[in-house]
């Protein structure tokens, strides 16, 4: 990589103090992957008041004199991590910073990520320093229903300021990880509904029961006689939003029988779900394709044990080749690394069958479509948020650096990472 260019970029960052607000910024790149059409050689992205004002080749986009100019070898849309726990599973891994797993009951769809997200956890800044600008984060794939996810920009201010969608999905986990152990919690082992499932069949039975309860609740809520309507139930309201599709289930499944169970459940309740993990996806690829559901594929480098024993670095590529919509993710780590970096996961997928542009799409525009935020971010197009990642070479190369991240026009100069 041309050192001079990197120095230029660093100089550009060093020249101005870290801004806390959106700036008017022009970003020029030797190659600009807009993810909306072919890559631009010598491209320019103009950001005014936090939004993209223009994108095009340098000779067609005039940079206003008062715009701050950033230069990089490679420019991409800000990266999107389609499923993370960052902000809930904190860096220290001590009880006070671990909010991704509430162990008191196996099904708690009423738990909201926004009530737990710590925008200032160092790992939020860590993923941002590699170009990640948006994450779908929340309760981890641990309990049968562990809670809700939120879509948030990695601005690091406060949850309410940074949020795009405070209630994006609800996390459901089938298979071994869904067979939660309720540990040392007062009341555990009390009412039967609070007991975790011990087997796969029991887990699905409990989920079906919960869905049916929610349907009945919806029916009763519409009773003509107001006096006969039940009181509000946060838990069933969340399940109802999965039933009406406004806040779908994010179903983490890895074994092939669990993938099939998820599809069976979706058919029975006419659910639109997002499949997640799917280590065994190659075994049931036809069924997944026929369902039409997208897959947030397990981290490419996730450890292969237990339900994930069969995972392959080639799965993302195979699902993409089959025409199944995919996105990549950092998922949840209980130990080290405390968070994965979705850029690295996409890099290994790119090198193992997915290919460069589909891999980049899986952490930009395809992830944005899957998360229903493509009107806001995911590509460099006029009118979208000014979310950009800058690199001094191929973003996937181990030895390239992210030399800057821009979110809503705000420039983060965390140094070359």
């Amino acid at each position: 990589m041309k050192t001079s260019l990197r120095l230029l970029v660093l100089a550009a960052f060093a020249a101005a103090p870290l801004s806390l607000r959106a700036e008017n910024v022009a970003i020029t790149g030797d190659t600009v992957y807009t993810m909306a059409g072919a890559p631009l050689k010598n491209g320019v992205v103009l950001i005014r008041d936090g939004k993209i004002e223009a994108v095009g080749p340098a000779d067609s986009v005039k940079i206003p004199a008062d715009f701050r100019v950033l230069k990089a070898a490679v420019v991409t849309p800000g990266l999107i991590d389609a499923h993370a726990t960052v902000g809930l599973s904190g860096l220290l891994n001590q009880p006070q910073d671990q909010d991704m797993w509430e162990r008191s009951a196996p099904m708690q769809p009423e738990l909201r990520a926004i009530d737990a997200y710590n925008a200032k956890d160092p790992l939020v800044a860590w993923v941002r320093s590699y170009g990640v600008t948006t994450v779908n984060t929340g309760h981890a794939p641990t309990a049968l229903i562990s809670g809700q996810t939120m879509i948030v920009k990695t601005l690091g201010r406060e949850a309410d300021e940074d949020v795009i969608n405070p209630a994006a999905m609800t996390s459901v986990t089938l298979g071994r990880n869904g067979l939660t152990v309720v540990e040392g919690v007062p009341g555990a082992g009390g009412p039967s509904a609070a007991k975790p499932p011990g087997t796969r069949a029991k887990a699905v039975a409990m989920l079906r029961d919960e869905l049916i309860k929610a349907q009945e609740y919806a029916h009763k809520r519409e009773a003509k006689d107001e006096a006969k309507r039940p009181g509000r139930d946060l838990r069933l309201e969340a399940v109802l939003r999965a039933l009406d599709g406004s806040q779908p289930f994010l179903v983490t499944v890895n074994r092939q029988q669990d993938i099939i169970s998820a599809l069976r459940l979706a058919r029975e309740f006419k659910l639109k779900i997002i499949l997640d993990g799917c280590a065994d996806a190659p075994l049931v690829i036809n069924e997944i394709k026929a369902s039409g559901f997208p897959v947030i594929v397990h981290p490419t480098m996730q450890r292969s044990y237990e339900d994930m024993e069969n995972l392959s670095v080639e799965t993302a590529g195979r699902l993409h080749a089959a025409g199944i919509p995919i996105a990549l993710q950092s998922s949840y780590e209980a130990y080290v690394p405390k968070t994965r970096v979705v850029l690295f996961e996409a890099a290994v997928a790119a090198a193992n069958g997915l290919g460069f542009e589909p891999a980049l799409a899986s952490i930009t525009i395809d992830a944005a479509k899957l998360l229903n935020i493509a009107d806001r971010t995911g590509s460099l197009e006029k009118g979208k948020d000014g979310d950009v990642a800058l690199y001094d070479g191929d973003p996937f190369e181990y030895t390239s650096h992210c030399v800057g991240t821009v979110i809503n026009g705000q420039v983060f100069a965390d140094g070359p990472h």
Binding site: G90, L91, R303, V313, Y398
Partner: protein
């Protein structure tokens, strides 16, 4: 007369050497060679025979012996086999929960050589490895240095030292991993005190043996634990010490100085804070590269710049996977991320090879491509530090142990149904792993 398995082994080895001597030389030509010892060779040839390197140099300058079998590896990069100085492949174990200090426990007595993790390590280009017991003890047992030859039993993987013993180190740890409920220590000072007490016992044990001067009546009773510590005191066994925090690192240096043992610092998350002290003590470091800091309090300040900072301070730096913490198949990422954070390319590649050979005391036989060393090498599809590069072949002592073009090896390299199976179940009623994935790929579900 007691059964003496070693005699049988010796006979087999003698036979094997005889066979080796008759093997044809093999040449790998037209490769870009990174010999580690010396500058890269753009258009090189490596000649091996009998498990050893016969010649390495530029094409045209190396004369091939008559009858050489030639492999044209145009377009590939050939470098020494990678050495992982800290791994847990093979599902080995060390001491149990009964005590914090158990130098008598040997990984040797626990390793499953058919575990999938070992074939995955070969797929990552690893040819030699230090398999360690865990870090939950002050001293968790004897580690084992292995060559990843094709193996049926553990004996096929051992590295024999000139005195006939098995090459290996002693695993020690400090910091929070070995602090727990009694009989384990509850604090750092207690941890160090327990270790000092044990080494002083070992010194006294050694002195008794010396004083006995060969008289069996004056010899102390055998003590398996103290025997191992005496080996450490005598410099025959290197201490491989898990340590993260800067003060824990300094404690290791202090103990090593007091008892004069050779030590290698492992993980060294905060090594960057005490790089000069490490350099002054002439103690090598084996660094782990994790995708993010944290995950435990001691690694809050872990930083990818550690290898670069240690290198600049003059410390010998190697890398390790700590598999399964990092995947052996992606071991080359460690070097690449160190370069990303400022380490020299030369230093990073040495950290995967010759530096780790030195860390294990094996530099005379492996770690670089030099005449007379073991023929341990890998063939790569491109630059070793590129994400797009694949390990195509792994050779240990002149024998191929991994070939990406072989479907079974490919399965272990990329994963998939069967890649986690430690044993291929074929004799009874199981479909083989490979049959399963082929059926999945090409059968009814296409």
């Amino acid at each position: 007369m007691p059964y003496r398995p070693l005699s049988g082994m010796a006979l087999l080895c003698a036979l094997a050497v005889g066979l080796c001597a008759q093997e044809k030389p093999q040449a790998f030509t037209n490769a870009q060679i990174i010999p580690i010892a010396g500058e890269p060779i753009a258009h090189g040839v490596l000649v091996v025979q009998g498990g050893k390197i016969l010649a390495v140099g530029a094409v045209g300058q190396v004369k091939l012996p008559a009858g050489t079998q030639v492999h044209d590896v145009t377009g590939q990069v050939l470098m020494p086999g990678l050495i992982d100085s800290h791994s847990h492949i093979g599902a080995g174990t060390g001491g149990d929960g009964s005590a914090p200090i158990q130098p008598d426990a040997r990984v040797l007595d626990s390793l499953d050589v058919r575990d999938a993790s070992i074939q995955k390590a070969r797929a990552g280009g690893i040819t030699a490895v230090n398999v360690m017991p865990g870090s939950g003890h002050l001293i968790s047992g004897q580690t084992l240095y292995l060559k990843l030859r094709t193996a049926r039993t553990i004996d096929d993987l051992l590295i024999k030292l000139p005195d006939g013993s098995n090459a290996g180190g002693l695993k020690m740890a400090n910091g929070t991993n070995s602090i727990k409920a009694a009989p384990f220590p509850g604090t750092r000072a207690k941890s160090a005190a327990l270790v000092r007490e044990q080494y002083i016992k070992a010194q006294e044990y050694r002195d008794k043996i010396k004083r006995a001067n060969g008289d069996p009546d004056k010899m102390p009773p055998r003590d398996l634990a103290l025997e191992e510590l005496v080996e450490v005191l005598d410099g025959k066994r290197i201490v491989q010490n898990h340590t993260h925090r800067h003060d824990d690192i300094l404690t290791v240096l202090r103990l090593s100085k007091e008892f004069g043992f050779k030590v290698v610092l492992h993980h060294v998350s905060e090594g960057w804070k005490v790089a000069d002290e490490i350099a002054a003590a002439h103690v090598p470091c084996s660094v782990i590269m994790i995708d993010s800091p944290g995950g435990k309090l001691e690694t809050r300040d872990a930083d990818w710049r550690t290898p670069a900072i240690l290198e600049k301070a003059g410390v010998l730096v190697g890398f390790h996977t700590d598999d399964p913490i990092c995947d052996s198949r992606r071991f080359l990422r460690s070097a690449a991320y160190a370069v990303r954070a400022g380490m020299t390319r030369k230093g990073a590649l040495e950290g995967m090879t010759i530096a780790n050979a030195k860390i294990l005391g094996l530099e005379a036989r492996t770690g670089s491509l030099e005449v007379g060393k073991d023929a341990d090498f890998i063939l790569l599809s491109g630059d070793p530090l590129s994400v797009y590069t694949h390990v195509e072949q792994t050779w240990v002592e002149g024998k191929k142990v991994f070939d990406l073009s072989n479907p079974e090896d490919h399965l272990y390299a990329v994963g998939g149904v069967g890649a986690g199976d430690s044993r291929r179940a074929q004799l009874c009623c199981f479909t083989s792993a490979w049959d399963l994935i082929m059926a999945a790929n090409e059968g009814g579900n296409q």
